[in-house]
């Protein structure tokens, strides 16, 4: 009898119902013992065909649907879509509205990164950070609620402006939130960033070089974690970002820890942006005169913004009617997820949770 032990690969399914897949995502994993030999993400469980839905709705009717794509940063989804309409229709936006938009977009980025902070901890077995992150996010949701009445699906951006001006008391409340958030960030670092177990699980895990990350069309914090300072807010400035003083956060390491640290730094940068915008925002009217049954001239436009998850692009083709002829949503989560297999191979299954967590995907946007 041979003394050699015959081993074979084990195929397992992670998801679609699994706490670490952050929604309905299924990962087909081939394992050699604990080591990942192959990985195939299976997406589409949440596919609603939004690009087709867009063709059946007027331009304005589609705004609430954008809220349901990356539902952790709905303001940014509104912004990308409305920005494309404004570019093609050459619709002017009052300066005050642009500042309000920047405030909303950056607050929403922080809220999204706070969920990431909490979920990342949760993925690796730390429960407290999630409660901390949710606590501060609540303050942001309160600000959103007093502005537009909704806490998650805002439907706040309009071609030519925003649905309503900032309510009384917003300025003070936002200022006190910024002060509080800055103090709490030190607590966050004590809890998670400087936690030796957390660092051991994240450092050097799931590394991708700058060159490869670019080749995989990655974007957002997942790309900047590999040392590429590509941020649409700087590369193709839109709204009033070029009037504000802030820096692009990057880390050179390309590992899961680097992607985490980029987002933590981005929270600080976004706080800087919101603070400045609140102070230099001009007074004035917010009136927008865009008709509800908006018609756009024949032609096409590509508008992209930096959402919480990366380069979010809207490609709009118009045939001159009141509905889009074709709308394409370039979803950063979807494209980033395409590189997961490359990053996970060779790591243990427990590391897969850390790597996927560091991608910070939202399935609503992946599946569309």
């Amino acid at each position: 009898m041979s003394s050699r032990i015959r081993t074979e690969l084990v195929e397992i399914n992670m998801g679609p119902q699994h706490p670490s897949t952050h929604g309905v995502l299924r990962l087909e994993v081939s394992l050699d013992g604990e080591v990942i030999v192959d990985l195939k993400p299976d997406v589409g469980y949440l596919h609603r065909g939004i690009e087709k839905l867009a063709e059946m709705r007027t331009y304005v009717q589609f705004i609430p649907i954008t809220d349901r794509l990356d539902y952790l940063s709905s303001m940014l989804q509104n912004a990308a879509y409305v920005g494309a309409i404004e570019k093609l229709g050459q619709i002017e936006v009052p300066e005050r509205a642009e500042y309000i938009r920047v405030i909303m977009m950056e607050l929403n980025r922080i809220a999204s990164h706070l969920i990431f902070y909490g979920a990342m901890g949760l993925d690796l077995g730390a429960t407290t950070p999630f409660l901390y992150g949710m606590r501060e996010r609540e303050d942001i949701l309160d600000l959103f609620e007093m502005t537009c009445g909704a806490r998650l699906t805002y439907n706040y951006f309009r071609p030519g402006g925003v649905a309503a001006d900032l309510p009384a008391g917003f300025y003070q409340k936002a200022k006190s939130y910024i002060k509080k958030q800055r103090e709490r960030l030190a607590e966050y670092d004590d809890l998670l960033t400087n936690n030796q177990i957390f660092i051991a699980r994240m450092r050097g895990v799931g590394v991708i070089s700058a060159e490869e990350a670019i080749n995989y069309s990655m974007s957002g914090p997942t790309l900047r974690g590999s040392g590429v300072a590509y941020d649409v807010r700087k590369a193709d400035p839109y709204s009033v970002y070029d009037k504000l003083d802030w820096d692009v956060a990057t880390r050179p390491e390309g590992d899961s820890l680097a992607r985490y640290l980029v987002r933590m730094q981005e929270i600080r940068e976004s706080l800087r942006i919101v603070e400045q915008a609140l102070d230099i925002m001009p007074p004035g009217k917010l009136q927008y005169k865009t008709p509800l049954r908006l018609k756009l001239p024949e032609g096409e436009v590509y508008h992209h913004i930096e959402s919480s998850r990366g380069d979010l692009g809207v490609y709009l083709v118009s045939d001159g009617s009141d509905k889009p002829y074709r709308l394409k949503w370039r979803a950063p989560s979807f494209i980033n997820l395409g590189a997961l297999s490359r990053l996970a191979k060779g790591w243990k299954i427990a590391d897969l949770v850390a790597i996927l967590g560091s991608f910070d995907i939202v399935l609503g946007e992946v599946d569309r």
């Binding site: 589409g44 690009e51 670019i214 069309s217 394409k328 395409g338």
Partner: protein, 147 residues
């Protein structure tokens, strides 16, 4: 920049460029489909152009043809170019560019899934958003939505 991009492509492949225009300040090159992969390889590896980032691939159904649109960026200089190819609507196929940019793999799968364009040489051309037994390609203009 966009003149050099256009002239570089025209010089290397005189028959490849069918039309050139500018949309929103970005050069749009309409290419003969059989030259697409060659042009992509050139744009990627050319020292001065070096379009290293494939921002987006998508397709439009114009009812008489399917147009596939590729959006490229050079991340260092932020130079951009858009490539377009027209395909036969009854049997749309074009060479895959996933050997140049890995990021094309999932994006081409999406275009295949929703618009029915076949990408020749793609390593794993399967549906991605819809179930594998789905019939038809929903973003086609003549697609009938099932009850």
């Amino acid at each position: 920049m966009s003149e050099t991009t256009e002239s570089t492509v025209r010089k290397a492949f005189p028959e490849a460029v069918l039309d050139a225009s500018e949309i929103d300040g970005v050069l749009n090159l309409k290419l003969a489909a059989n030259f697409l992969l060659d042009v992509c390889r050139l744009l990627y590896s050319h020292d001065d152009l070096s379009f290293d980032y494939l921002a987006d691939i998508t397709a439009i159904d114009w009812r008489d043809r399917i147009e596939v649109v590729y959006r490229l960026t050079n991340l260092a200089t932020n130079a951009k170019v858009v490539l377009r190819v027209d395909l036969d609507r009854n049997d749309p196929q074009v060479e895959s560019v996933s050997s140049v940019w890995k990021g094309a793999e999932w994006q081409e799968r999406e275009v295949y899934d929703l618009m029915g364009v076949r990408f020749i040489g793609h390593p794993d051309l399967r549906r991605i958003l819809l179930p594998e037994d789905w019939e038809g390609h929903p973003l086609r203009k003549d697609y009938v939505i099932p009850d």
